[in-house]
């Protein structure tokens, strides 16, 4: 059952770890439509009604560009932390990581930790500076002391690239997931996700998007808590007893496969330690870098820092987000082992070959059924689908803001656009993005889009992150350095991804990828930093002098919040 090649393994890992339903199995188009699940559809219908009602309420309060982009800056740190966590606790983490633990045990933990560590870094180096300098998009921060058109154009282009790859992966994931969970055709799911997401964003803007994300996060955390507690309750709340039983089950399965007693015992024990996941430290570290620095460069995450009133709340947001995400990953660890014990031994959840019914990612779903029957399975299915919906809404809002705030209002109209004009362009862009997402989602149904989420992370880590860090912390950074250096970082990440096995072998079908590692970040992140540094250093133009002269004031503003864009929601 185990994929024999290491690179494939890590690619799968990169996808599972990413905050998207980049379900390795689901995305390859190998899923089969299941019988129609009316309980799940009904539960999801309730979620949709609730969120549409919230959207209606939010719409009444969405009048200005500030309302639309940042909910008027009136979200609290606690609410924003839940919404940020919602962006991360995706269908992929829930289904993918629990499935990975179901198969390999302990190895699943490397996903969780790599994914979490990006948050403290974002807090320690950037959170308050972002909040103090930014207004609506991360480009506000990146271009603060620079000539606007070049840096804004870079940031908007990079946002659209990251958002598009992410969005396509989400749409395809939604289609595949709905076949599995609801038993409905692929195209239904893509259209439902696209239309609902457009409604949330068009009418409710950031306020509705944030509340959809919060509701989903609460549903997912409650569902996962219930599952983990139910599993532990069966073992008298002793993890040791749970692990012991899981080892016993795995040993029994290995013995049933024909292994002799000694081999079977070794295989059973193997779930308690690291297995084949990291064979090559270069790929392991590179993947870690992409996750950690990608987190700090994702435009839809960065945008969330502008929804809170000040730096204090921005810091609290990250603390809450980190806490909820960490808690969630601990639950997932228990859920994965629970699935070994309760699902792997029950023939009702297995097909004739002993594999999971419905595909490898169904472990947590079957566990939900084993614990709470059809009703709870319906609830968890609805939560999984709601998760995708909430994430695509955030992505679309971020893409629309890049077009209306960065390109239209700043580059095209040179800052002369009114709030109403800007709002109109955001809404038109939302419609356009939603339509494109639906069309591409359908077009990519049979394609292997598995590389797209890891590509989005690598692009964010290699382009946006170096530009933000150097513009915030290095006086010598200039307009030319930020715009061109950032673009070089992006291009390097893109080119190396194309040359890596994920695209070269899996998508293009060519032999032996020229770039052997699973993630380009170990090379493309330094390439981004070095290019910005070198181009800035060589930049002797008149603009470079202005850029450097603006640093002192920018630094003090970023550190104190003097003159920061205030909340308008009072």
């Amino acid at each position: 059952m185990r994929p024999p090649l290491f690179p494939m393994r890590v690619i799968a890992a990169a996808l599972l770890i990413a905050p998207a339903p980049a379900l390795a199995d689901a995305l390859t188009g190998s899923t089969q439509q299941q019988p129609t699940n009316w309980v799940a559809i009904g539960m999801f219908g309730l979620f949709v009604l609730l969120t549409l009602w919230i959207t209606k309420a939010a719409a009444a309060r969405t009048r200005t560009a500030s309302d639309f982009y940042t909910a008027g800056g009136g979200i609290t740190g606690f609410q924003n932390g839940l919404a940020m966590a919602g962006d991360y606790m995706s269908a992929a983490s829930f289904l993918g990581i629990s499935a990975q633990i179901f198969v390999d045990g302990y190895d699943g933990l490397i996903y969780s930790t790599g994914f979490l560590v990006g948050w403290p870094i974002l807090l320690f180096l950037m959170a308050e500076r972002l909040r103090n300098l930014g207004k609506y998009t991360f480009a506000d921060v990146a271009s603060y002391r620079f000539a606007q058109p070049p840096v804004r154009s870079f940031a908007a282009g990079s946002t659209l690239l990251v958002v598009s790859f992410y969005l396509i992966a989400q749409m395809v994931g939604a289609g595949q997931l709905i076949k599995l969970l609801f038993g409905l055709p692929y195209s239904y799911a893509v259209i439902v996700v696209g239309v609902l997401m457009m409604l949330y964003v068009l009418f409710g803007g950031m306020r509705a998007t944030t509340w959809v994300q919060i509701i989903k996060a609460v549903m997912l955390l409650s569902g996962a808590t219930f599952m983990a507690v139910s599993v532990l309750a069966q073992f008298g709340f002793s993890p040791e007893a749970l692990f012991a039983r899981a080892v016993e089950v795995k040993t029994g399965l290995a013995a049933a496969d024909g292994a002799n007693a000694a081999d079977a015992a070794v295989k059973g024990r193997a779930i308690m330690g690291p297995g084949g996941f990291i064979k090559d430290p270069v790929s392991g570290l590179s993947l870690g870098l992409a996750l950690i620095f990608g987190t700090a460069g994702l435009p839809h995450i960065l945008m969330r820092f502008f929804t809170v009133p000040d730096a204090k709340e921005a810091r609290k947001s990250v603390l809450w987000a980190t806490t909820w995400i960490g808690y969630f990953y601990i639950l997932i660890f228990i859920i994965g082992f629970g699935a070994i014990v309760l699902v792997a031994t029950d023939s009702a959840y297995l097909d004739a070959d002993g594999a999971l019914r419905g595909g490898g990612n169904m472990a947590a779903m079957h566990l939900a059924h084993a614990i709470g029957g059809d009703l709870f399975l319906g609830f968890i299915s609805a939560v999984a689908f709601a998760t995708i919906l909430a994430v695509v809404a955030g992505l679309t809002l971020s893409g629309a803001s890049a077009v209306s705030h960065d390109l239209y209002a700043t580059v095209v109209r040179r800052g002369a656009a009114s709030s109403a004009d800007e709002l109109r362009v955001s809404r038109i862009t939302t419609l356009a993005l939603g339509t494109v997402a639906i069309l591409l989602g359908i077009a990519f149904e049979k394609q292997n889009v598995a590389f797209m989420v890891s590509l989005a992370f690598a692009l964010a880590a290699s382009g946006n992150f170096p530009v933000l860090i150097l513009s915030l912390l290095w006086k010598g950074c200039t307009t030319r350095g930020a715009a061109w250096g950032g673009a070089i970082g992006l291009l390097t990440a893109f080119a190396l991804t194309v040359l890596s096995p994920a695209i070269w072998e899996k998508v293009l079908g060519l032999a032996d990828a020229p770039f052997p590692y699973s993630s380009p970040a170990l090379f493309s992140v330094p390439a981004g930093f070095l290019s910005i540094w070198l181009i800035s250093l060589l930049d002797r133009g008149p603009r470079a002098a202005i850029d450097k002269a603006g640093y002192a004031a920018q630094r003090i503003r970023s550190e104190t919040g003097v003159g920061a864009h205030a909340a308008s929601d009072h």
């Binding site: 930790t113 560590v117 870094i121 180096l125 993890p239």
Partner: protein, 108 residues
């Protein structure tokens, strides 16, 4: 008015000392958490047998508390920074800022 406040802050050694302390804490914690994650990755790559060895007589392996510990450690460091910044540093910053603003309003 903002420009004047900024000029006053820039001339205030207490301001620079405070920011230096805060950013030193930020960098220190960033290095610690990156180091912890790198160490965990290297243990997963090179010390598989040790990570898989059971604690005492049970089946729970050494790696379980280490992995869970890393998750809790990340949350703890985040909490430490937020607590220091939101209570200690922000209070001192508010005092320095209030003084700069008051001076800026009252022309000498």
């Amino acid at each position: 008015m903002h420009d004047d406040v900024i000029a006053r802050l820039d001339a205030d050694p207490r301001y620079h000392a405070l920011v230096r302390r805060r950013s030193r804490l930020g960098w220190l914690l960033a290095v610690i958490i990156l180091g912890a994650f790198t160490a965990f990755t290297l243990l997963m790559a090179f010390q598989k047998a040790w990570m898989a060895s059971p604690i005492g007589a049970g089946v729970t392996s050494v790696g379980v508390p280490i992995g869970m510990g890393l998750i809790l450690f990340a949350i703890m460091l985040t909490g430490l920074y937020v607590w220091r910044s939101n209570s200690v540093y922000d209070r001192e910053m508010a005092q320095i800022l209030a003084q700069a603003q008051a001076q800026s309003r009252a022309p000498a």
